[in-house]
Symmetry: C2
Subunit: 346 residues, 2 copies
């Protein structure tokens, strides 16, 4: 016996097919198929007999054959973006896991693909034309959503995690987290602690998400009749930008607390405080956004707005099931409320 055979064995036995089960159970193929897909069509004793044959052989329907016939793959495509080094943004990890779990319960699996960097749509197109997936989850909706229009035009079923900012009447189902509510929550939390001069550090104005979150901060401030002028700054989403912005704001506006559009920016604030010998949570309060691992393990902890990603995933899958149903259900947008993970920094 040669080494290859010794290691990997002979040709693995072909898995049992529907016909094998049918023969063993003494019924026809169709009956086995019904036992699997429409059990209530069978007489109880026949069903039992078929079930036993299935168990005995360890039969599972061949997915390729089933997919071919039913024109469905029970796969959901999810495009993943490169990890951003040097930031605290890691919500994908949590979301992906929740999505896989929710999909599993609905009988779907998640297929990952990474867009050809040159042409993000090429990846979608490829999977779509080869009928490799039944639908997509689209997550990158930060600036409008070119994919949405493209997929819509192709009649490709998809659900977006993120509102169609540039087109509120977009016909596709979507699920999103209310960033404004989150920042309102964070700001109100600080206001309740007695802070009155609460600064905002967010992203540049062309980010819909950033403006939404900012609106939550200003809304909460206005609700208590507090001014916001001079207390806001808009920068890049990097630690050093957060550091610089907070330094300027401390000098010019003397805020006693910061609400940030991301944990990355909040880490920058913490750095400024450390440089000035100030203690986060005692001298100056800080709240971040996304409840990243960074927020959880940083010294004394960073209070942060936590997106209910598990719920998002469940809603996304629910919307997907509706969209793939016959007839497709029109699923309105779903907006979920985040919570606040309070830690030492506030």
């Amino acid at each position: 016996m040669d080494t290859v055979s010794k290691v990997f064995g002979r040709i693995p036995p072909a898995p049992p097919t529907l016909a094998d089960v049918a023969e063993l159970a003494g019924v026809s193929r169709q009956t086995v198929s019904n036992a699997v897909n429409n059990p209530d069509l069978l007489r109880a004793d026949t069903l039992l007999r078929v079930q036993q044959a299935i168990d005995q052989l360890g039969y599972s329907p061949n997915r390729a054959a089933r997919n071919l016939r039913t024109r469905a793959s029970h796969l959901i495509g999810l495009r993943i973006q490169p990890v951003q080094e040097g930031t605290a943004n890691a919500l994908m990890d949590r979301f992906v896991h929740s999505l896989v779990e929710a999909s599993r319960e609905a009988g779907y699996h998640v297929l990952l693909f990474s867009g050809d960097p040159i042409d993000a749509l090429a990846g979608y197109d490829d999977l779509l034309r080869s009928t490799a997936v039944d639908a997509f989850i689209v997550t990158d909706t930060y600036l409008g959503n070119p994919q949405a229009a493209w997929l819509g035009a192709r009649r490709a079923p998809f659900v977006a995690f993120g509102r169609p900012w540039d087109n509120p009447d977009a016909p596709h189902p979507w699920v999103d987290v209310d960033g404004a509510a989150g920042c309102d929550l964070a700001t109100s939390h600080l206001l309740d602690k007695g802070h009155e001069r609460i600064a905002w550090i967010g992203w540049r104005k062309d980010s819909f998400i950033g403006e939404d979150r900012r609106a939550g901060w200003s809304r909460a401030m206005r609700a208590r009749g507090l001014p916001t002028t001079g207390l806001a700054s808009r920068v890049e989403d990097t630690v050093s930008s957060g550091r610089d912005a907070s330094a300027v704001l401390l000098d010019e506006a003397q805020p006693s607390a910061f609400v940030c559009a991301s944990d990355t920016l909040a880490m920058g604030v913490l750095r400024t405080l450390a440089e000035r010998g100030l203690t986060a949570g005692r001298d100056v309060a800080v709240v971040g956004f996304d409840d990243s691992q960074v927020a959880q393990v940083v010294a004394s902890g960073l209070t942060s707005v936590r997106q209910p990603l598990e719920d998002v995933a469940v809603e996304v899958v629910k919307a997907l099931e509706g969209r793939l149903g016959h007839p497709p259900a029109i699923h309105p947008g779903v907006l979920l409320s985040p919570t606040l993970a309070v830690r030492g920094s506030s």
Copy 2:
């Protein structure tokens, strides 16, 4: 027109098939198939004609049909574990992305699945029996590897990210990162900076990976004739364990530097230092492991051992291609060396 149709349009046109292309190009189905899979079998002018027809119709082979016939899905299964909240362990994010990218180049897609928590093997079994994936990537090899033996017995092709610790002669291909070399690197880096009393904070003894990393530290120490007794501690992988362990070590052994088995533990050390008014990198040096986002954004930065996950993914896919080849290539284990991301803490 009813609302549903207005929103989603009529039944989408059926995608073009091989036969459609054949008819348009005026050739037979097999010729089109050859044009796609064995272009060199065709005469140049025929190939061109078929190509044009393919482009004109936007044809892509139906995956289900191809999978059924070729008994291959070109999918790779990857089981993902729940995210550990409160730790800095996020290497999966980076690895998954690299894996998707490497797989894409090899013509594969990554299928995620989450083991039924009750029975981790059920998820593998299901996908295997339904021939949904061609192979698996197994990542959880921290304590031996029950999956490996099970998959091996089922003759399921798989590649492990992680050595078969409990069975060095295991016949399956694997790729791993040399944790000992990483910690040797980290320790040597500190030794070069003039540190002599370098403490180790690692995991409990039943972790093969932890013992491996620890060996790198003690090896580097011994190489310079330095003692290690009293300088090591083994704890749980949490921030607070790292904090407690470093406090005890500082009191009892007065180390001037720490090498940790994870960034999570290193964050605990940083916390202790902060509590004692010591500055990381100036008073006491700290090195973590995994180069997590936490290490990258924490104030002044945490020096950390960085696993070459991109290379791991490439090697894993390479091994997979060998394993799935005919005949399967026997791929020896591959051990890659990590690098050190030097930051402010050292």
